[in-house]
Subunit: 510 residues, 2 copies
């Protein structure tokens, strides 16, 4: 979810135009939810436990585990385990990996159905100098139009929503209710570095066995936008991130290091080699992958998927979307509905960055020994990461660029979740019960490690769920809404109730 | 000479292989030069003035004028004027420009012939933390195999050689001799930023009139390599340095700023646009410019020029050259003589640097709003900078890249100097007189602002001359040799005598 997180920081922006601009239902008043006697008791407990829940989030934020800096990783895993025990999980274990440890926990309620929950206990790096309040102090601030929010690293990504899910378990227990479903909790500490060892956690035999019993799995997410709307996603693109490197060292032509640029007249240039290799990867407009066999396993969008996108397009504010993105035209001048179809349908080869030679202000007369393109390649069903890596390498070799290195730093397979799965049906039912307008999106163009769950050997539905609101993942002044001033957007207690209701809905759904 | 300086820091390396590996004549013993009575008296004065000469260099180094930092520019021009007055120039004026001022001075000896001298009073930026001794203190250090050298910013580029030339004027005066030629001195303070206003100095009417009377002009340079050999260059390539910029802003497609990379499926990419524009500029191997009409005015090498290059190639150590450069093959697998011909003959389009989007470690899922290629394009006679700029723009426009910006930061026309000019004949005679092995190079692939002199309206021969040795231009621990332990390499006094002898040779040559 490394990439997904980057995407979430722009989620409002991306979804803003794609959501129904008007007509979103109001959150139902408390009395409606209270019609259910369990819910009334649990709400009372959630309200009573509100200060403890807030303290739980703040204490967690005060202990930042940052995998990229190898900071407080052991402590983070132990803290995560303790949070699980406190919330009532009977079996809690720290799962070592070749990297940082994961945490696995089960809460057996003797129920018929089991829900999987995915947590990350790590957070993104931060620079306190860029923040308006100390990033580990979770200070409460006023957000005009939204309410009171805490500001801290991990507030929305992902400790706030995760601790809110735990608050639901605490509230159900405090209300004297038995959980309506069993819970399997799987946590990692390397989400922010691309989940390189997460599969080791998920495929540990007892973890795998537990996951396979789940109806599905979700990561708690503060999924409401500023108008209270949510999107329920039926899948996500996959991705490989890589560096394409042309160097004199590997090529056997050109210099090994940077030399004086006047020598270009007698020495080959790895930078030009990179340019030549790059331009074989896409069509001349840069918009369609031209890697051999790239579309072999691409599944076209179904009519149903196109219809869902059409609905999104119809209710969207295209002009606002363009303004927010700073673009005046979509690819090929497409109308918005076709652009959104393209967004969902097409695999991409994107240049994230170019780095060669002198990169400072002005110029410097060097012939660089190495040139690098940082690429991300988005994949759609039924492409796989392994297939993409293999085909990219074969393409370069076939076009005479065997020396051009492909250094893959990470990636995920695409994911798909059936609209008919109990996981998705329960999400829709829970949002409807809360009066939250939910839009089905057949596929987000961002990527997350959900394929760890949706692909063999786990093979269960996976997605994101949660009410509440926050923003600023990966950015300074990340926040999570605690007291909402907008009745359409859930604060801490309402979001807690959303998770509690999800459990009951899952137990009851057909 | 911005680029020439960068080149000088690699001069030994570039020339090393192209020089006669053995057979260089020994510097003649003192007694040979002393045969000339003028020279004997001047040598005595030069030896007596040695400490004052050294102090002159050190004091000058202690006042760094850095145009890029607008540091001590006024003081630098005034100091330069004072140095000229001290050396006997009767007319000295500071010449204002739209940038930093130049200095113009004349020394009328009532002689028949006049020599032009080009100085720069500015130096390159430096970071004292990278130096082994303070860069303004000119500390004397032992250089094994060379002797005693001062270490300081500007030591070799260019204050050391320039002050050594002034030392020759001091010595001649101290010896009671009249200068055998008149001197016209023209100085600039913006050499390190590409001489943007130097033409304003050179074409000021009284300056222009004075320059046009000169037999030729040179910049004093410590031109001997570690073995005492020198190269006499009959020209240099021109250059334009520029940034090629593709941006959503100008294109009207793609984003104005960086957006999330998942949007690549519906938004065009300025980075891909840059790649496509770039690859039209060269042949697929990256080695020959493919810009429309680029070779229209290219003059092929003459048979004489090829013969001179053949001589260089024959006496060179190709294996060592390759090792020093870190290359295993020349372009097209050419043999060394043909590679050196290509070096002199071919215009180039070189990528100095590529910069787009995320350039740090790892990746970041952005679609950059802008992508930049830093290019230098070397020009050969009879291409001109103005022609090159015009043709590059026209080429991009014709290929549909009218939105791709060409931001030229600087450049020089190519230069040519006739082997038969008194300037070159005097250089060769002076080197021969000193027993220094000199090799004629028809064209260096580096560039310098000599076209200010060789092109209209000045139209006089221009080049580099000087004995002595130093290295580290633009680098930390830049040094200039004061006491040579190698009889083949000139120290401060021998280099002073080289300049003095040049004046007498110029007065006498046919």
């Amino acid at each position: 979810m490394q990439d997904f997180k980057t995407a979430t920081s722009r989620r409002d922006l991306i979804r803003g135009g794609a959501m129904l601009a008007s007509g979103a239902m109001l959150m139902r008043p408390t009395t409606v939810l209270a019609a259910d006697s369990n819910m009334a008791a649990i709400r009372k407990a959630a309200e009573a436990g509100r200060d403890a829940s807030l303290k739980r989030i703040r204490d967690w934020i005060a202990l930042p585990s940052i995998a990229a800096e190898n900071r407080s990783m052991k402590e983070g895993a132990e803290y995560m385990a303790e949070l699980a025990r406190d919330a009532g999980f009977q079996h809690v274990e720290i799962v070592p990996t070749d990297g940082h440890p994961g945490v696995f926990a089960t809460l057996d309620a003797g129920a018929k159905r089991t829900l999987g929950i995915y947590f990350m206990y790590d957070v993104k790096q931060y620079d306190p100098a860029e923040w308006s309040s100390p990033p580990l102090e979770s200070r409460m601030v006023d957000k005009p139009g939204l309410g009171k929010a805490i500001v801290g690293r991990g507030a929305v990504n992902q400790k706030g929503p995760e601790a809110t899910f735990l608050a639901a378990l605490h509230a159900i227990r405090a209300a004297g209710r038995k959980l309506p479903v069993n819970i399997v909790l799987i946590c990692e500490g390397e989400e922010e570095i691309g989940s390189p060892h997460f599969k080791q956690v998920a495929t540990k035999p007892n973890v795998l066995a537990a996951l396979r019993k789940c109806e599905g799995i979700f990561i708690p997410a503060s999924w409401q936008d500023g108008q209270g709307n949510v999107q329920v996603n039926l899948g996500s693109k996959g991705i490989i991130e890589l560096e394409l490197v042309a160097s004199g060292e590997k090529w056997g032509k050109g210099p090994k290091g940077d030399i004086h640029s006047s020598l270009k007249a007698m020495v080959d240039s790895p930078s030009w080699r990179l340019v030549q290799a790059l331009q074989t990867l896409v069509t001349p407009d840069g918009n369609t992958p031209a890697i051999e066999g790239w579309f072999e396993n691409v599944r076209p969008l179904t009519e149903r998927e196109k219809a869902l996108i059409g609905e999104i397009a119809k209710s969207a504010d295209e002009a606002q979307q363009k303004k927010l993105l700073g673009v005046t035209h979509w690819i090929d001048g497409l109308p918005y509905d076709k652009a959104l179809e393209r967004l969902a349908q097409e695999p991409t080869v994107n240049i994230e960055g170019l780095v060669a030679g002198y990169t400072g202000p002005g110029g410097k007369t060097v012939l660089p020994g190495k040139a690098v393109a940082k690429l991300d390649l988005r994949l759609v069903p039924n492409q796989t990461r392994a297939e993409a890596e293999r085909k990219l390498r074969a393409h370069l070799d076939k076009h005479g660029f065997a020396d051009v290195e492909v250094n893959v730093s990470g990636g995920y397979d695409p994911t798909e979740v059936s609209e008919d799965s109990r996981l998705i049906k329960t999400m829709l039912a829970t949002y409807a019960h809360a009066g939250v307008k939910a839009t089905l999106n057949p596929r987000i163009a961002g990527s997350w490690p959900g394929a760890t769950f949706t692909a063999p050997p786990v093979s269960i539905p996976a997605g994101h769920f949660g009410m509440g609101h926050g923003s600023g993942a990966h950015a300074p002044d990340e926040y999570y809404l605690i007291e909402s001033s907008n009745p359409k957007v859930a604060g801490l207690v309402e979001a807690t109730m959303g998770y509690a209701d999800f459990l009951y809905q899952l137990a009851a759904i057909k």
